[in-house]
C-alpha cells in the first residue's frame, strides 16, 4: 500500500468536491472490505481515499412516498438484513445470508458489494481487467471466468453477488457528480458494462461520480429468490448464481425476470429464460427449461464448460425456490429426513 491522503467528508457535495480534484487519483472508501486489499496489493494506488461513511444522508434505509426503499451507500449488509423495510426483498436477503461472514456482513456495505471489483486472478495480480485483451485468460487458467458475454476481450465475471437479485427487483441507483449539483437516477442494470478497452471499467461511473443510494421499488406480493452454487460456505465467490422475481397469477407465471451472476462480465439478464416461464406453471420441468434457455448462448472457455451446468442448475433452483418448492440440492430440507438406506449386512468384527 502506498501513502495516500485520507478525507472524511460529511456532506454529499463535499464528497464530490474531494473526488474531483484534478490530477489526483481518488478512491471511495465505505466498508473497505475490497478496497483495502486492492490497495495493499497496489492494484489500486489512489492518491486520496475518501471515506463516505460519515455523510448522514447515506446512512439510512428509508421508504419514500411511492413505497420505494432507499438504501444509502454507508448502509452495511447486516443493517439491510435487519431492516423491516427490506422484508419484501427475500432474494436479496438470501444472498446476504449466503455470504455468511459476520465480518463482511457487519463491515461491508450494500453499495460496496455492488461495486466490488472483479475477482479475476489476472486482474488482481495487476494485469488489468482485460489481461492483455483476454489473451492471458484464454491461454491461462479460466475455470472461474465468463461463459457468457465473453466474445469481446473481457473474460472476468462481475463480482457482485447482490446485483442479480437487485436487478430482478427493478432496483435503480442514484449517482451524484462529477459536477457540483449533478445527479441522476439509473437502472442498476445500466450501471454495469462489459469493457471493450483497457481504459474502461466494469461500470459506467466517471471519475468524480459516486453512487449514493440504491432504490428498490415496492414489491408487493411478487415472488423472488436467489440461488448460488457455492464451492463452500461463506464469503468466497460463488461458481454460478441466479436470481428470479415473478408474479404468479392463478398458478401461472407473469412478468418474470431472471438475472445470472458469476457467468459474465456484467450481471447477465436472461430475457429468453424469463419469457419461457411466462404463462407456465412452475415445476421441475419448466424451471429446468428456463435454465437451459438462460445458457443457450454460452461459449465456454477451455476450462469452464462445467459452469454451464452450474448456471442452469442455479436458474432452475432459483425459480423453484421463488415458487416455494424444494430445490433438491444440498440445502434441501429433504436431507434432514430420516434415511431410508437399504439395510446391508456389515462385516464389523
Amino acid at each position: 500500500m502506498k501513502n495516500f491522503e485520507y478525507a472524511q467528508p460529511t456532506t454529499e457535495s463535499e464528497a464530490v468536491a474531494l473526488l474531483t480534484e484534478p490530477k489526483k487519483e481518488t478512491a471511495i472508501l465505505a466498508g473497505g472490505t475490497d478496497l483495502v486489499g486492492l490497495m495493499k496489493r497496489m492494484v489500486v494506488t489512489a492518491d486520496r481515499v475518501v471515506n463516505i461513511c460519515e455523510i448522514k444522508s447515506l446512512q439510512q434505509i428509508e421508504r419514500d412516498d411511492s413505497g420505494s426503499v432507499w438504501i444509502g451507500a454507508a448502509v452495511c449488509l447486516d443493517e439491510f438484513l435487519d431492516d423491516k423495510n427490506t422484508d419484501e426483498f427475500p432474494s436479496a436477503k438470501q444472498v446476504i445470508q449466503g455470504i455468511s461472514s459476520i465480518q463482511l456482513q457487519s463491515q461491508g456495505t450494500l453499495v460496496g458489494e455492488l461495486m466490488r471489483r472483479p475477482n479475476c486472478w489476472y486482474f488482481r495480480e495487476g494485469h488489468g481487467l482485460l489481461a492483455d485483451s483476454g489473451r492471458m485468460v484464454n491461454e491461462g487458467d479460466n475455470r472461474y471466468h465468463a461463459i457468457l458475454g465473453n466474445r469481446g476481450p473481457a473474460r472476468f465475471v462481475n463480482a457482485s453477488r447482490l446485483a442479480p437479485s437487485l436487478i430482478t427487483l427493478g432496483a435503480q441507483v442514484r449517482i451524484i457528480g462529477p459536477g457540483k449539483d449533478e445527479e441522476q437516477i439509473l437502472d442498476l442494470a445500466s450501471l454495469y458494462r462489459t469493457p471493450a478497452a483497457d481504459s474502461e471499467l466494469e461500470n459506467v461511473l466517471q471519475p468524480g461520480q459516486l453512487v449514493t443510494h440504491v432504490i428498490i421499488p415496492a414489491h408487493g406480493d411478487r415472488l423472488s429468490a436467489a440461488y448460488e452454487v457455492r464451492h463452500g460456505e461463506g464469503p468466497d465467490q460463488p461458481l454460478a448464481a441466479a436470481a428470479v422475481s415473478m408474479d404468479v397469477v392463478s398458478g401461472k407465471v407473469q412478468n418474470a425476470s431472471i438475472v445470472l451472476g458469476q457467468v459474465a462480465p456484467e450481471p447477465w439478464i436472461a430475457s429468453a429464460a424469463a419469457r419461457s416461464l411466462c404463462g407456465k406453471v412452475v415445476n421441475e420441468e419448466t424451471a429446468a427449461i428456463a435454465g437451459i434457455e438462460a445458457l443457450a448462448g454460452a461459449m465456454p472457455l477451455s476450462q469452464n464448460e462445467y459452469k454451464i451446468q452450474l448456471a442452469q442448475v442455479a436458474v432452475k433452483r432459483a425459480v423453484l425456490k421463488a415458487a416455494g418448492y424444494d430445490t433438491g440440492g444440498l440445502d434441501s430440507p429433504m436431507l434432514n429426513e430420516p434415511s431410508a438406506s437399504p439395510s446391508l449386512e456389515t462385516h464389523i468384527a
Partner: protein
Amino acid sequence: MAEVTYSWPENHKARLIGKRISRLDGMEKSTGTAKYTYDINLPKQLIVRALGCPHAHCRVISVDASAAERVAGVVLVHMIKAPGPGDDPVEIRADGTLLVAVAAETEAAAAEGVSKLKVKYELLESFVDDHDLQAAEAKKRTKKAGGGIELDEALGEPGDDDDEEEWEEQKVQELFAQSKYVVEGNYGIDTITHCCLEPHGSTLHWEGDRLKVNLSTQNVSRTDDGYADALKISADEVDVHCEYIGGGFGSKFKPDYWGITAAEIAKKTGRPIKFLLTRDQELKIGGNRPSGFIDVKLGADENGVVQVWDSHHWGTSGFNGSTVSVGNFPYVFRPKNWRRRATGIITDNEPSVAWRAPNHPQACAITQTAYDDLAAKMQADSLDIFLRNLENIDSPEKSLVYAEQLRIAADLIDWRKHWHLHGKGNRRGSVVEGLGIGIHKWGGTANSSNCLLKIHPDGGVESYCGTQDLGTGTRTICAMVLAETLGLPIDAVKVNIGSSTYPFSGASGGSTTVGAVSESHRRAAQEVLAQIFDLVAGKLEVPADKLEASNGSISVVGYSDKSMSWKQACSLIGIQPLEVTSIYKRGDDSPLSSSNVAGCQMARVAVDTDTGVVKIIKMVAVQDMGLVMNRKTAESQIYGALIMSIAAALFEQRINDPKTGAFINSELDNYRLPRLGDTGELVVHFHEPESERARGVIGLGEPPAISGGAAIANAVCNATGVRVPTLPLTPKRVLDALRTAKG
C-alpha cells in the same frame, strides 16, 4: 539422595495430567495482548518489503533502483537474488522468489519503493504441469525418485541365467493372473501451501556484534546456527525469541533467506528491521507440500486381501524435482508382493518443505483409495475390505489396534445404518450420501529437551526451556507437568519458553514437542522434589521415601498431620535458589515417553450430483497417543487436523498458470479454504486402553492430519459410485468424473 525413578502418576492420583486444562495463554491470545512476531515493533525500526519475481522461470538481467531510492522514506535498496551492477544475470525458478528488498521508514514507503523498481528480465520457458507425466518426460523434466520390489519368498529366486528384472516382471504378471480381483486406478493430490496465518518473518536488531531476533519459528533453540553460518558469526552471538507463533506446520525451522536479508539490512543501516512476508509471498515461497499422482494396479484374492501391488507415482516438490517419498506405498498396508517406482517432476516452483506429517497424507490419499476401489469392484463393504487387509500391514503388531479403532469409529459414525454399496445409496433430489475410511500411522518420538527448574526459598517456582508453543498448548503442558509433580496449583509455576538463551529444546516438528517437554519438565521436577524431600525428611524425621507432594504441601504418606507447607519446605533450601537442569536426549530409553501410534478416520459426505458440490456431514477420528496429557488441547489438535484434512480434500490447491507458470491463486480470495459451515460434525475419540497409558507420552501433532483425505475421497466414491481421482474434489472435478463415467 536416592536415585530418582522417573514415572508418571497413577491415573487415579493425577490431578492435572489427562484432565481438560485450558491454555494458560488463552486469554492473552483472545484479547490480543499476546505479542506475536508480527506485533513486535522496535524503536527506530525500518520496515522491509521485497519485490517478488513475477515470472516462474527467467533470468534477472539488471535492476534499476534509482526511482525506488528517490521515494520519500526509502532508506536502502538491497539486492537479494538479483544482480548488482556488473554482475552476471541470476536465474530464477519460482514465481515469488524475492529479488530486491526495500527498507523504509514506513510500510507504505517500502511498498511504493518496491513498485518503483525497474527490473529487466529475460523470460525462459516455464514448466509447471505436474499431472501429466508424459508431458514432463517430453520436456525432460523428470528425475528418478526411487523404487523397489519385494516378492514373497515362496516365489523363489531368479536363476543364475535369469535377467532379474524380467524374472520379477514375469512373477508380478503371474500374481495378477492368479488374482481373483484386479483393480487399476489413477489417483492424485495437488500441491497445497502451508498458508500460515502469521507469515514468515522477523523483527531484529544488532547490539554491537550480537544479533537479537524475534522470529516466527518452530525452532527457537536452533535457528541461531542458520544465522551464524550465513552471517559469518558464531551461534553464541545470536539470540532468538518467539513467545507466540501464528502457524508453522513444518515450514518455520530456519531463518530463511529473507531472515538473513533482514539481518544484513540491519547491519548496513544500523537500524532495527521488521521484515515479514506479504500474504501472496507467504503462499508462494513460505512453504508448500508436494503433489502426488499414481498409476496403480493391485490384485486381490477371493477374500479381497491384496496379494500384489504395482505402482508408479510422480509429482513435484518444485524445481528440485522430488516427489512424495516412495517408502510409504501402499500406505499402512503392505501386501506380500509389491513393486513401486517414483518419478520426480521438476517444475518451476518453490521447493516444498515439511508439511504436517510429511509424505503421509498424500501417500494415504492416493493408495488407500485403491483399496476402496477394490471394495467397489467386489461390491463389498469397504470396512470389511480394510479389516481383512489388516493381515498385511507394515507394522503387523498394530493390526489388532487398527481393528479395534475401526470398530469404534464405525460405531461412532453409525456405519451399519448408513452403509450402502458404492453408488447404490438412495438419492434425494440430486443428492447422494456415502461413507469412507482412511487409516494412518506416525512415530511421534519425543525430541531432545532440557529444562532448568528453579525453586526459590520463598516457594516460587520457575522453569526455563528453549522450546516453543505453536499454539498447541506446549506452555500449558510444561506448567501442568511441573504443578502435578510438585503438588502445586498450575498458576503457582512460572513457565518460561521461547528463547534460545534458555536450555536447549528440540524443534517442534514431527510430533515431538509434548513428549520432549514432558520428559524434561517431569525429570527436572522429580529431581527437585527428591532434594526437597531429603530436606523435609530431615526436619520431620521421617524417611524421604515416605513423603508425598500434594495440595501445596509435603506430607508423610498416611499421616496428614505430619506435613509441611510447600513454602515452609522451600525455606529449608537456604538462601540460594535450588536449581536443577534436566537433560533428555531423543532416543534415550525412557519410561515417560515412547512412539508409534495408529489411527483411523471415517467420513460421511453428501454429494450434489447436479453441482458437484461435496458437503461433509460428519467425520470421526479415532486416535491413540499413549498417555493423554491435556485432554482439551489434544482434542483441539485433532479437530484442527480434521479441518486441515477437509481443506486439502475439498478446497486447497496451488494453481499455476499453465502458460506463465505464475502461482495465480496466492491470495486468500482465491486460495480456497473451508469455512466453519463446511466442516460438518466432527467427532474425536481417544483410543486409550490402560496399555496405551502405560506407553507414556507420544506426539499427536501429525497423525490426525493424515487419513482424512482418503476417508473423504472414499466417501465421495461410495456416494456417487464414481471415483473422482484427484484431490481436492472440487465441483468441477466431481462433475467431470460423473460425466466421464456416464460416457
